[in-house]
């Protein structure tokens, strides 16, 4: 019978897989989420109606909990504002961990009444308890940190030692419990210690590394679900859990890569150190953007402005700018060029190059028009320009170029700056634009960066 049910669960698992697959591309992600949800609904349905060996059904409790939980979930998720999403995910993840924690405790309690006593099953359940607890408490701490309820400065001294100690103690007690199998108190102790470990594990991770930690905790919840699946010999839990566990693990690694950090680094950070995500220049930080994010930002924009400067000329990147324009226009993104009067090194420098690349004159905006258009701009790509987009000309009376008309690039929503380094332009003065929160830097030769961007964009268009 279990086998037949499992066969039916297969449908759910398949839907999970399809869902995850679709979730990994921008075009299909939305439907992927729905498909996964469908799989889940179907699984729950089967769990509700499939025959069980014993028990009284207790549908009152079940439906009550389902309705209540569903209501809360919906309510919370529709109310939360966009910027609070990550902490929400963390919170939900904690609840999943709690779920695993609760059922494994219940099962462990039940073990004493079962006739057949399998060591392997017991070990599995114990592991589910352990991992579920860590996921639960860890996620809550992550939630607290992200929402600001727990201050980043609340750090444990010698966290490294404490974590190690806790882990060793946990393993010792678990081993002992496996030998004796008797004391229910030890099980409770294991749960408490696991919860504690979850807290200390997460508490010391730097704020910027939080997403990575959440991903780890997410994977752990998956693993605990899979372990619970073993307990119940239930395919959907098992497979769903494994899928989440494995994809979560890989996602963790990818996130580290995207942040240019190694996992060990993040965890080491978690064990005491503090490493920020952004590069440090003097006492200011600049934010780097990777090609993928940049390409998605562009892809889903309505208006994009390309701001060419001397660097575009040096890189001879005019033709690729035009290609970028063509590609974006193809997906109905509006592209304009903002030509500053003194961009480049001779009057009309940009015009000459863009004409060579066959850019339509009608797409060239001069300073005034550009500044108007910038207000409605989603992304401004600065291709090797510097002085002509220096906001100190607007707001820093101490600047040597104060009063010079510049492109008011910060009127747009996002700015991506393509240049090779942090070095300054013709005027030799620093540019606060690069440190602005709206700005992301894409370092490297402009032609190369644009080429990469183009290749990436082609995969999503």
């Amino acid at each position: 019978m279990t086998a037949l049910i499992n066969l039916v669960y297969l449908i759910s698992v398949t839907l999970f897989i399809i869902g995850l697959q679709r979730l990994s591309s921008p075009k299909t992600a939305s439907s992927g989420n729905l498909i996964a949800a469908l799989g889940m609904g179907f699984g729950v349905l089967i769990a509700l109606i499939s025959p069980v060996e014993s028990g009284d059904g207790n549908y009152f409790f079940i439906s009550g909990a389902l309705i209540l939980g569903g209501g809360i979930g919906l309510l919370v998720s529709t109310r939360v504002i966009m910027t609070k999403m990550p902490e929400m995910v963390s919170l939900f993840n904690g609840l999943g961990g709690a779920c695993a924690l609760l059922i494994s405790i219940a099962e462990l309690l039940n073990f004493h009444y079962l006739e057949t006593f399998e060591l392997a099953s017991y070990l599995t359940t114990l592991l589910a308890l352990l991992i579920g607890s860590i996921a639960f408490s860890g996620s809550l701490v992550a939630y607290g940190k992200l929402s600001g309820k727990i201050k980043d400065s609340w750090k444990l001294p010698r966290a490294n030692m404490i974590n190690m100690g806790l882990l060793l103690t946990l393993m010792g007690i678990s081993f002992y419990q496996l030998q004796t199998l008797e004391s229910m108190e030890l099980v409770i102790l294991i749960a408490i210690l696991s919860l504690l470990y979850g807290i200390t594990f997460v508490l010391n991770v730097g704020g910027a590394d939080m997403p990575v930690i959440i991903s780890i905790l997410n994977a752990l919840t998956g693993v605990s679900a899979a372990l619970a699946g073993i307990i119940y010999d239930n395919m959907i839990m098992l497979m769903g859990g494994i899928l989440v566990g494995s994809s979560g693990a890989i996602l963790t690694i990818l996130m580290c890569q995207a942040m240019n950090r190694s996992l060990i680094n993040v965890l080491a950070g978690g064990f005491g150190g503090e490493v920020g995500i952004a590069a440090q220049v003097g006492d200011q930080t600049v934010k780097e953007v990777n090609i993928m994010d940049a390409s998605i930002m562009l892809r889903y924009s309505t208006n994009v402005v390309i701001v060419p400067g001397y660097g575009m000329a040096v890189a001879q990147a005019q033709k690729i700018c035009k290609e970028l324009e063509d590609l974006l226009e193809e997906v109905e993104v509006n592209v304009r060029y903002a030509i500053h009067p003194v961009a480049g090194r001779m009057p009309g420098h940009m015009n000459v190059l863009l004409a060579e690349a066959d850019v339509d004159y009608a797409k060239l905006l001069d300073l005034d028009d550009a500044n108007k258009f910038l207000k409605e701009t989603d992304v401004a790509i600065v291709v090797g320009a510097n002085d002509v987009v220096n906001p100190s000309a607007l707001d820093d009376p101490g600047s040597p170029i104060f009063g010079m008309p510049v492109l008011e690039i910060l009127k747009g929503k996002h700015v991506i700056v393509l240049k090779r380094s942090m070095s300054s332009g013709y005027s030799g003065i620093e540019n606060p634009l690069f440190f602005h929160e709206k700005t992301s830097m894409l370092f490297g030769d402009a032609k190369k960066s644009l080429n990469n961007l183009l290749d990436e964009l082609k995969t999503t268009v």
Binding site: S24, L95, M297
Partner: protein
């Protein structure tokens, strides 16, 4: 050690599934653009809420006087449902931004 080998052998299905799942997970995820990291994590998190099925089974197969199980189980269902429903809903909202206006 023996215990582990025993488990491994008994759960060969799982082991195979595991290996496959790891590869599958890798292939599925490795080409994900970074902007999708958070939605994907959120979606995966919602799926991990599949553990409520265990909770449902637990409650269904408990005696109606087994208060401990009922309490733990119902609570587990509650929390798990929040995870599942909230998770999918939040993911959905995040993904709104990819729908071209």
């Amino acid at each position: 050690m023996n215990l582990i080998i025993e488990i491994l052998i008994n759960q060969l299905t799982i082991l195979f599934a595991l290996i496959m799942a790891v590869f599958l997970g890798f292939e599925l995820i490795s080409k994900v653009p970074t902007v999708l990291h958070t939605p994907l994590m959120s979606g995966a998190n919602a799926i991990s809420g599949v553990v409520i099925i265990g909770a449902i089974i637990l409650v269904r197969s408990s005696g109606s006087e087994d208060y401990l199980s009922l309490f733990f189980g119902s609570l587990a269902i509650l929390l798990g449902t929040i995870n599942v429903v909230g998770g999918h809903a939040v993911t959905n909202r995040m993904l709104q931004m990819f729908r071209k206006k």
